[in-house]
């Protein structure tokens, strides 16, 4: 017991030495500031920023790349609160719930304090999620080590089913369709077992398969650019910022809400593909029901603001838990992080505890530095950030297009990847317009190969029978969970249809 503890402590020490070394600390701070700016500009999301920046990390050492990406991630998720509060347009989808109370506070002249509360809440949320990441991940490694082919297949299906269920405001069916489309996308190219070409139509480019990063850049970059530029709506900024640092009593009032929301956000973050926006809405809803002042939510409540803002940042650490233990990202930005660390030879999953035992702690300590940077720079930069919100999006968004082109091209130095990126961008735009969520598509592309190989191997091991699954408790739990998600999803779809049919037309 003591030996195991000492071993973990030594690993933590070595990871901390890496994370606090030069240039990692410097990179984390710069990346966090960059993330804050990106998150604050409406239309630029954490996912888009990470997708574009992955290729910049090629030449970096692992610790520096992790510092760079996590800094941007933490900063961007928090940065969304500036525009949500000051212009009522969430900089990132995860800040949508923040706008409900934040903008009203800004109109009352308390925009500065609202941002201050939002930043402190984000700090508390991320901190709680880091603690959970450190203490829960080793246990999950042990459980994941017992996973066989059936469990890997079922966790892949579970991932897109739950993600499809949670990530759509429309019927879950749409989320599932997109998730399975992701599975299909992953089938294109040479089959991993027999190297047989599938859906390649004689094209050598397609034999290599659809590369993950160009597809992600298309779905989250090009489609986002088109979505932002299609509208020609100028926005006005509340110019009265007021003081930024909140009073001690105010912080005290929202602290218990922030702690509760931190746990909610971390928990939702750990659900495959669920993401920051769902965490914020669920936490806001729970906060409203649990608070003594629930009736004030939506009317300029600091508690409401803290509920949403804590949970979306808490999602970050939570999303790292399934990512590190099962290679299943908990949110779309976490999927980008997964793609980036794959490039650096890190293979998340239960074996990570043996192959790169200090990676968990490197992630946790880097997140800690990014969180501290977010608190300090977030508060310091509040006034200049209001000026950033005035950036002309009609200039900014077209400039991102060449960046998406380079981002897609750089991985394999192949023009074909730029074409893939554009096609996925258009596909993503059309699907978005039809209310299909994008998160299950990403998860499907990532989990598709695992689902394919695990399912075939599991069936081969059982000589075509699924009876061996009955002797696997984790497999049975996953199977029951999938069936439950399916039934509840179908029920929700029917309920939604009935409600929309009963609506006055």
């Amino acid at each position: 017991m003591f030996e195991a503890f000492a071993q973990q402590f030594a690993l933590f020490g070595s990871a901390a030495a890496q994370a606090f070394g030069f240039p990692q600390v410097f990179v984390t701070m710069i990346a966090t500031v960059a993330g804050i700016v990106v998150g604050a500009v409406p239309g630029l999301t954490a996912t888009m920023a990470l997708a574009l920046l992955i290729n910049l990390t090629y030449s970096m050492q692992l610790a520096t790349a992790v510092a760079f990406l996590l800094g941007v991630y933490v900063g961007a998720v928090m940065g969304g609160c500036y525009s949500a509060i000051m212009i009522n347009i969430p900089g990132t989808p995860s800040a949508a719930a923040t706008a409900l109370d934040g903008f009203i506070l800004a109109k009352q002249g308390h925009g500065g304090q609202a941002i201050g509360v939002g930043i402190i809440a984000s700090f508390v949320g991320t901190l709680i999620s880091i603690l959970l990441l450190i203490f829960l991940t080793p246990f999950l490694y042990k459980i994941a080590l017992k996973f066989g082919q059936w469990e890997y297949f079922l966790i892949s299906v579970f991932g897109i089913m739950i993600c499809g269920n949670l990530s759509t405001q429309s019927t879950p069916l749409k989320g599932w369709i997109v998730g399975f489309l992701g599975f299909f996308t992953a089938m294109i190219g040479l089959d991993a077992v027999y190297a047989f070409p599938r859906f390649t139509y004689g094209s050598y480019d397609l034999m290599g398969g659809i590369s993950l990063i160009p597809a992600l850049i298309g779905v989250f970059g090009i489609s986002e650019i088109l979505s932002v530029l299609q509208e020609d709506v100028p926005y006005s900024i509340e110019s009265q910022l007021g003081k930024v640092l909140p009073d001690k009593s105010m912080v005290k009032d929202v602290l218990s809400t922030a702690v509760r929301s931190g746990f909610i956000g971390s928990g939702i973050g750990a659900v495959p593909g669920a993401g920051e926006d769902i965490a914020a809405w669920v936490s806001y809803d729970v906060g409203k029901r649990r608070s003594k002042h629930g009736h004030l939510f939506g009317k300029g409540s600091y508690e409401g603001l803290a509920s949403a803002e804590t949970a979306n940042n808490a999602c970050i650490g939570g999303a790292m838990i399934p990512l590190l233990t099962l290679a299943v990202p908990g949110s779309p930005p976490a999927a980008m992080f997964l793609a980036a660390i794959w490039l650096h030879g890190i293979k998340p999953g239960p074996m990570l505890a043996l192959e790169s035992p200090d990676f968990l702690y490197l992630t946790a300590v880097t997140l800690l530095i990014a969180t501290a940077s977010m608190l300090v720079f977030g508060l310091l930069l509040t006034k200049p950030m209001v000026k950033v919100l005035k950036i002309n999006r009609k200039i900014l968004m077209p400039i991102i297009v060449p960046l998406t082109v380079i981002g897609a091209y750089a991985g394999n130095v192949n023009i074909f990847d730029i074409h893939v990126m554009f096609i996925f961008g258009i596909l993503g735009y059309i699907l978005r317009k039809l209310n299909y969520p994008m998160a299950p598509l990403v998860l499907g592309i990532i989990l598709g190969p695992t689902a394919d190989i695990s399912f075939r191997q599991a069936l081969m091991q059982g000589q075509g029978s699924i009876i061996p699954l009955l002797g696997r408790p984790v497999g049975i739990v996953l199977m029951v969970a999938i069936i439950w998600i399916f039934i509840s999803g179908v029920k929700n779809s029917r309920l939604q249809k009935n409600t929309s049919n009963n609506q006055p037309i």
Partner: protein
């Protein structure tokens, strides 16, 4: 009313597309080579996906037909509605911006230097969006094209397309 109509019409079209796609996947996967047994054949998983897409397609079709999608689809494809859709400023803007991207990605990149292609793309896009004055447009386009090219090529050592 129009939003509900649009949704049910798109559900009907998506249902048909999914069903057709599912059938295509089943046919294509059955024609793939079987090495040992079908359970570990390259076509096995796409075959399962084909069945799933067919089921999704049927569910969508049935749901949308019950919701009155046939009439809604007919209304959507009426001449006046189609004209309204194409004349809609948002649709027009997206089509034109996508066209600029197509020219940039498929026509210019790989044929002329990346910086020149980027400059041309930005100038035309800024002009169409009326982002700024002509002079500022040219200055921002030149600076952006040069800076992006130089930073990626020389600072990050990333090859340009």
């Amino acid at each position: 009313m129009s939003q509900i109509k649009k949704t049910t019409a798109s559900d009907l079209i998506m249902g048909v597309l999914l069903l057709a796609f599912g059938i295509y996947l089943i046919v294509e996967s059955l024609s793939m080579k079987v090495f040992n047994s079908f359970l570990d054949a390259p076509g096995f998983f796409p075959f399962i996906l084909g069945i799933i897409f067919c089921l999704f397609g049927i569910v969508m079709l049935v749901g949308s037909i019950r919701g009155g999608s046939v009439a809604a689809t007919k209304a959507t494809f009426r001449k006046d509605n189609l004209i309204a859709l194409f004349l809609n400023p948002e649709s027009k803007r997206v089509v034109i911006l996508s066209f600029f991207m197509v020219v940039y990605i498929y026509g210019l990149i790989g044929r002329i230097h990346f910086a020149i292609a980027t400059f041309l793309y930005l100038v035309v896009t800024f002009w169409y969006l009326k982002s700024t004055t002509w002079l500022k447009n040219v200055i921002i386009s030149v600076l952006s094209a040069l800076l992006i090219s130089a930073i990626f090529q020389y600072v990050f050592k990333i090859p340009l397309p």
